[in-house]
Symmetry: C3
Subunit: 139 residues, 3 copies
C-alpha cells in the first residue's frame, strides 16, 4: 500500500466553475497505482469543489444562475460584509457544495462516470489563487 | 492492509430516495475486514447519495417536498432543458447533495448511527439504471 | 500503513455551529503519523459537519440566518413533525450540509487552510449529545 500527494494551484478570474478534470485524471493515471481512493481537498472557504456534468456547458451556466438566485450578493440578511457583497454569499455557497471529494481509483483510473467532471467553484468575483490538495492511497 | 471494491447496480423507477443501506451493510460485513474506511461513489450527475433518517418514511416524503419546492421542474431560469423539465433540476439537486459518502468501518461494521440510512436519490422521473462504486480500505 | 480511530462526544446546547477544530487538530497531531487521510463521520441525522471560516464569528451567525430562512421551523410543507417544528428542518439542513468530511494529513498535520475551521452543526433546539467518529489511515 502506498500514498501519493500533490497540490494543484488554480488561478481563478472571478466567479465561475473551473474544470479541473484533466489535472485529476492525469495525476491519477501517472501515480502508478491501480486500485485506491483519491481525495481532493480545497483549502478555502469561499471556493469549493463539485462533481457535475461536463458535456453541455449550459449546465454550468444554469448552476451559477441557481446559486445566484438562492444566495444573492448583497443580501441584507448578512452582517459579515467585510470583503464586499459577495463575501458571505461565497461562504454560504461553499457550505452548500463541497470542500472535499473522494473518487475511487479503479484499473488505474479515477472512476468518474461518463458525464462527470470535477470542478473548482470560485464564488468570489475577484481574481484569486486557489490550492487543492490531492491525496491517493492504494496499490 | 487490504482493499475491496464492488459495484452496485440500482434500477430506479422515477424520482425517489432508494434505501441502499442493506447492500452497504452486508457488503461491509462480508468483507472480512474489521477496521477501515468505506467509500460510496455514484457515477452520475442526475442522481446522488445521501445519509438521512431511515425510520419514519415521512422524512423521505418531506425531503422530496423540500427539494421539489427549492428546485422546481420547468423553472424558466434554466437553459439546459435537453432532456426535459427535470433535467437541470436533477443536476442542481445533485450539486446540493452528495456524489460520494465515506463511512468508517468499526468492529467489522459500517459505523452508521442508529437512525441513519444510506440512500440513492434518483432525481429524474424516467426509469434508470444507476451505478455506485463501493471501495473499502482497511484490515 | 496504520489506522487510528477515535470518538468525540460533543454536548450541544441548542442550534448552533460548534467549533471542533482543536479536537481534530490535536488528535491528528498526536497520531504519530505524517501522511494520511483523516475522516470525520457524525452518527446523527439532525446534526451535521461543515468546514467554513473560523476567524470572524459573524460568518457563523450569517450561516445560521441563511439556513433559518431557507428551511424555516414549522414549515407547513412538512408532515414529519413528531419531535416538533425543528424536527424535519434539522433533517433537511443535514441533507444540505455534510455527514462526513475528509481532510488530508500532510507533514503530520490536518491540512486545513488558514481560515478553515471544522464545525459540528447542531440543528435541534434541545440540548443533545453528539458522536463523531474519527478515522485516520496513513503512515
Amino acid at each position: 500500500m502506498q500514498q501519493k500527494t500533490h497540490q494543484l494551484s488554480i488561478s481563478t478570474q472571478g466567479r465561475k466553475l473551473y474544470d479541473i478534470t484533466p489535472q485529476v485524471i492525469d495525476w491519477a493515471k501517472h501515480s502508478g497505482l491501480r486500485t485506491g481512493l483519491i481525495t481532493l481537498f480545497i483549502q478555502h472557504t469561499s471556493a469549493s469543489l463539485l462533481i457535475n456534468e461536463n458535456y453541455d456547458r449550459d449546465v454550468l451556466v444554469d448552476l451559477e444562475a441557481f446559486f445566484n438566485r438562492l444566495v444573492p450578493d448583497g443580501d441584507p440578511l448578512f452582517i459579515h460584509t467585510v470583503e464586499g457583497p459577495d463575501d458571505m454569499p461565497a461562504h454560504v455557497r461553499t457550505a452548500l457544495t463541497q470542500t472535499h471529494l473522494s473518487i475511487p481509483l479503479v484499473d488505474g483510473k479515477a472512476a468518474l462516470g461518463h458525464w462527470q467532471g470535477v470542478f473548482l467553484y470560485e464564488h468570489r468575483h475577484v481574481a484569486s489563487s486557489r490550492r487543492v490538495i490531492l491525496h491517493l492511497i492504494g496499490e
